[in-house]
Amino acid sequence: MTPDLLHARAVTRRHFFQTSGLGFGALALNSLMADDLKRPMIPARAKRVIYLHMAGSPSQLEMFDYKPELQKLHLKDAPASFLEGKRFAFIKGVPKVLAAQFKFAQQGQSGQWMSELMPQLAKVIDKISVIRTVHTDQFNHAPAQLFVHTGSPRLGSPSIGSWATYGLGSTNEDLPGFVVLLSGGKTPDAGKSLWGSGFLPSVYQGVQCRTTGDPVLYLSDPKGMDRVMRRRMLDAVAKMNEAEHARSGDAETLTRIAQYELAYRMQTSVPDVMDISKEPEHVLKLYGAKPGYVSPAETSTDDVRVLYKGDDPTFANNCLLARRLIENGVRFVQLYDWGWDHHGSSPGESIDETLPIKCQQIDRAISGLILDLEQRGLLDDTLIVWGGEFGRTPMMQNNVRSDLKKGFVGRDHHPYAYTMWMAGGGIKGGVALGQTDEFGYYPVENPVGIRDLQATILHQLGLDPYRFHFSYQGLDNRLIGPTNEGKVLKALLA
């Protein structure tokens, strides 16, 4: 899409401007609105996305990828095939193999293997397609997170949520099209770049909505100014701006008048949608949500991971918020939950102590989200994506230790195979795609690249991953990158 076409869209976007008979306006938030022009390119199966990213990367070997063979090698030297020609983030020399630290069992009609860490999710596993063979080419957090979310391991490319809102717009005039919610007490490693708009216009950047303080920055009027006063003030501004428009004839001024009105409405609509206390008790219970809860992990300046508690409802609150946001027309809701980097170098980042706590925080919340969406008839056209930026090694991290000590069990970064899953939005349930080798090291069947995942998400949204692009710096930039290696995962499509 060319900047010209963007301009044309901004102009034709709203009746307001069509009838004003005026020239071109700059890009406005309302250029994201009213779906009349932003039709999908191909038939869409999903209208919206909730993306749940576990920043730090959970261990697939403790959650979804059942590898009993590891038991035989447990605490023995890793075979040479694990190590030859490999680069690791921290492992040096020959590490010890580590067996799964939790029990596995088959779940649901589909009989998928899952560990005991996610008992609630196990109950809805037949609604989910698990992909066991995701691989990436990045093994450091920030570049790997950027690769998953922007298609490039370096900074400066738009995030998938920006692409989606650029392609499809938002369906609510009073809310941003792309909203980001954080939990775990820290911003994900790559920071706000993960929801930046890159080379797309900045209207498409994700808006971080916060659960403490102003939900959107600068949303509240200053103390002492009530709504009546604000209304009066904006009326005076609008009156003078109309006079300025009559003088200058610049359509930008009309856009600005409209944006101030939208800002005024957002001051009510955003706190309203962010207020989960309006939800009935049974819904709160379904997610394990607690309105108004402020986790000590969100405010402490120390290592927040030692403050994690299994019943901390922050992530659950965000899942419930995600449902409220998409229900109100937000196109893309991105959750980041930090604290999944379990190297074993301290109890706060260990597989034996912290992973179960993190799983407990998300287990009921995610299964509740799936059930709630289903009950409301929203699961069919809402795509849920879950995963980290890479997986974890079948070996312990030997620069930390080579024996099992409570609170110090961990694994290094593993880019070659890990698990992600998708549900809803035209994705089949009960599928397990891909097979890793007996140690969970490499894919042996159906390897799935990051670009395949991105192609699939765009495809479900009705955006042809190969044609959907933005021209910038002489290139037709695409989420899936310059080559056509990314393929839509047909096996998952319902």
Partner: protein
């Protein structure tokens, strides 16, 4: 032949001859070159159409381009054939040509298929005419003329905002040229135009990626400000930034200049491969250099030859090898650095070192062995004798004191070349992968754009000289266009970042070349170029527009009227502070932290916190605001400012409700509103009209202030009813009640001033 085509031919018969580089090359570039262009790996049927000889040579029974005979030229016949196997571009490419484009190709061949180069690769020659005559030439084609000049108050504000980023302070009736000269001579000039360089240089106060720790880059920022104020010519600016360290006996300032390319990010995340991120930084430097000076995208040539522009995969790594010889290596300490200790700091480090050494000796004596740093960590109160434990603790604290003393010293990352014996061998990275290196290459500049100037060495000095060499067709055009775009809101080449085959063609090619020649031949003086432009009638036009103007020149690309656009992120804020009288004019030094909402900095590992500045540092120019790459200052990001992650050529302006929330509610704008309210009250005239005059830098029109006066009266009545609200609002703005004014009155004037600071005219450059 269809009726439509007959009609088209009839119409086109009257048109001027087809121009290859203007009309045909863009069509071929966009539709053919991906498979039949410079990239040898992707080339299909061994056919390339970007080279005249190849395109006109008969092969396999067909000739792609047979001059004068379109019906026998496969480049044309394959566009119109009904045979799906023959049709070009192939259907799976999803590319289709419009019938008018096909007709252009046909006519070009029929008219003799004259070849040429892409317009921006042709040499710059100064055309006849002036800015005004060349603009008028284009306007006449659209039956338009130049608009009358804007009022002197509007022009004074326009000039002041454009040249210094601040509203006018000088109310004296200087004539226009004197005003231009005084603004160009003001210190604020360098502060404003430095922002452009900072965007290009991906300047930030942190290192980026996961840890995103702080680093000292601000001396380079100050070097840019000083250089611009001294009107350092672009060629020298270029040489010092790219190669200051290689100059004979470089001065401290010349070394600081090389920090330009040390603004690349470095990754301190645990477990990263330093070489991987060093390579990423060097590639960033290659891409940024060619972007900033030549407006071309190099990125794709990392993996394969450029599909549209004449830059091969090998060309990329030959240029890369020139920049691949610096010492920096993504190390946590960002070395090499230039230290700038004050005499006191030098003394402090010396005495801290001395103290540490003494304590270490004592400890060695007491314990009978030379303890290493890690031994100090293994403090064991059960086995250590009390005096040893005490000494260990003292050594540790002395060590920390030395570290702290060293950290006080300003040290900026700079370029240093590796000694010849240690220089790296550069090889082509297969598909851009640094772990898969293939053939070694020798250093060279891009061969399609002229040779290294006579006698220039094949290193960064040579690279810099080649970029600003007279023969380089791109550098003067790219820079002239960039400067024009800052003044007119849109470039003559709208895609400022792409002067290659896929960029937009210039809206006024002769004007662009006039400016380019003026800049280059005028000694690369930015101030001269700016004066050349702002003295034109074109620049001075009024910005009011009419339906006819908008119809003929919807985006003002032809400069058919004065430019009108929303001010940039920093200027929006600086202006509010300036008109309210709060702006600090302190220049330079470490970045500052004006208030931002609490809790924004929750980076993964960086312990640094944002502490809202008190006093003068709350109200410095936006240029000095601390920029953390992963969490940029929120109000600047909302107004399209960058995060300093990659080279930002232009900021695409947006107009959003989040911007309204910033200027309505960000504490800095509330503090400015209160200060403005106090000025309005103290003005001695009707306060609302005075507010308009102060903020908009023009007298208020009769009755113009009426909505504000009504607002004030209503607000005052409300505050009188709810005095606590008045007190609260005044407290929020951290202001003091002016003498003799009741709280409800003052609060109501704050609301009124808040309105003025949100007027469209205030946020806009007119």
């Amino acid at each position: 032949m269809s009726r439509a085509l007959v009609l088209l031919l009839a119409v086109s018969a009257r048109a001027e001859p087809v121009d290859f580089s203007r009309d045909v090359l863009p069509i071929l570039s966009a539709n053919c070159f991906a498979c039949h262009g410079p990239d040898e790996k992707e080339r299909k049927a061994k056919l390339r159409l970007d080279v005249e000889g190849d395109a006109k040579r008969a092969r396999d029974g067909e000739t792609p381009v047979l001059a004068g005979k379109p019906e026998q030229s496969s480049v044309f016949t394959r566009l119109v054939t009904k045979d799906e196997d023959e049709l070009m571009p192939p259907p799976e490419s999803h590319k289709t040509l419009k019938s008018a484009q096909i007709e252009l190709v046909r006519r070009w061949i029929a008219e003799g298929a004259k070849w040429g180069r892409h317009w921006s690769f042709e040499p710059v020659t100064r055309p006849q005419g002036t800015i005004d005559s060349l603009v008028k030439e284009k306007l006449t084609e659209k039956k338009l003329t130049l608009r009358p000049p804007a009022s002197s108050a509007t022009l004074a504000r326009r000039l002041s905002l454009d040249l210094t980023g601040l509203p006018p302070t000088d109310s004296s009736d200087k004539d226009y040229e004197a005003l231009v000269d005084s603004l160009l001579a003001s210190k604020a000039f360098g502060e404003h135009w430095a922002r452009l360089w900072l965007d290009l240089a991906r300047y930030a106060d942190t290192k980026g990626y996961e840890k995103d720790l702080g680093r000292t880059m601000w001396p380079w920022r100050d070097w840019v400000v000083d250089g611009l104020n001294a009107d350092m010519p672009l060629d020298q600016f270029t040489l010092e930034q790219l190669a200051g360290d290689l100059l004979p006996n470089p001065t401290e300032q010349q070394l600081i200049a090389t920090a330009f390319h040390r603004n690349t990010m470095s990754n301190d995340e645990g477990g990263t491969d330093n070489e991987e991120f060093r390579v990423a930084a060097v590639k960033d430097r290659v891409d940024t250099t060619i972007q900033v000076w030549m407006g071309l995208t190099m990125g794709c040539a990392k993996c394969h030859s450029h599909k549209y522009d004449p830059i091969s995969n090998e060309d990329y790594y030959r240029l890369y090898s020139i920049l691949n010889q610096t010492q920096d290596a993504d190390l946590p300490d960002d070395s090499p650095k230039l230290s700038k200790p004050t005499p006191e700091q030098t003394k402090a480090v010396e005495s801290a070192t001395k103290k540490l050494n003494e304590l270490r000796e004592q400890l060695a004596k007491a314990s009978g062995k030379d303890l290493k740093d890690k031994d100090l960590e293994r403090e064991d109160p059960t086995t250590d004798k009390p005096e040893i434990a005490k000494l260990k603790a003292e050594v540790k604290s002395a060590r920390n004191a030395l570290k702290a003393a060293n950290e006080e010293i300003v040290a900026i990352p700079i370029f240093r070349e590796l000694p010849t014996a240690k220089q790296r061998v550069t090889k082509i990275h297969n598909r851009g992968n640094f772990l898969d290196q293939t053939a070694p290459v020798t250093p060279a500049v891009l061969p399609a754009f002229g040779k290294l100037p006579e006698g220039a060495p094949l290193n960064r000095i040579g690279l810099a000289k080649w970029l600003v060499n007279r023969d380089n067709p791109l550098t003067p055009r790219v820079w002239a266009n960039r400067v024009w775009a800052r003044l007119f809101g849109i470039g003559l080449v709208e895609t400022e970042e792409d002067f290659g085959a896929l960029g937009t063609p210039p809206s006024n090619p002769k004007l662009l070349d006039l400016l380019a020649a003026e800049y280059r031949d005028g000694g690369w003086s930015l101030k001269k170029l700016l004066k050349f432009i702002v003295m034109s009638d074109t620049y001075r036009q009024a910005s009011e527009t009419t339906p006819a103007l908008r119809e003929a020149d919807p985006r003002n690309a032809l400069a058919s009227r004065g430019a009108r656009y929303r001010l940039s992120a920093e200027v929006v804020r600086d202006q509010a502070l300036a008109v309210s009288g709060l702006l600090s004019r302190k220049m330079g030094g470490p970045p500052v932290m004006p208030p931002q909402p609490a809790g924004l900095w929750r980076s993964t590992y960086s312990g640094k916190t944002w502490i809202d500045a008190e006093g003068e540092d709350r109200h410095r120019r936006g240029l000095y605001t601390y920029l953390k790459r992963t969490t940029p200052y929120p109000s600047f990001i909302t107004f399209d400012g960058g995060s300093g992650e990659v080279c930002q050529i232009r900021r695409i302006r947006t107009n959003t409700p989040l911007q309204a929330l910033v200027t309505l509610n960000d504490p800095v704008y509330l503090e400015a509103a209160a200060a403005l309210a106090a000025k309005m009250i103290a003005s001695g005239s009707e306060p609302a009209a005075a507010g308009l005059r102060i903020a908009l830098c023009r007298p208020a029109k009769p009755d113009e202030a009426k909505p504000l006066i009504t607002l004030f009266a209503d607000a005052k009545a409300d505050f009188a009813k709810h005095p606590q609200q008045a007190t609260d609002l005044i407290a929020t703005t951290r202001s003091k009640l002016p003498q003799g004014i009741a709280a409800p009155d003052f609060a109501a004037w704050i609301v009124t001033a808040n309105a003025i600071l949100n007027l469209d005219e205030f946020l806009t450059r007119n």
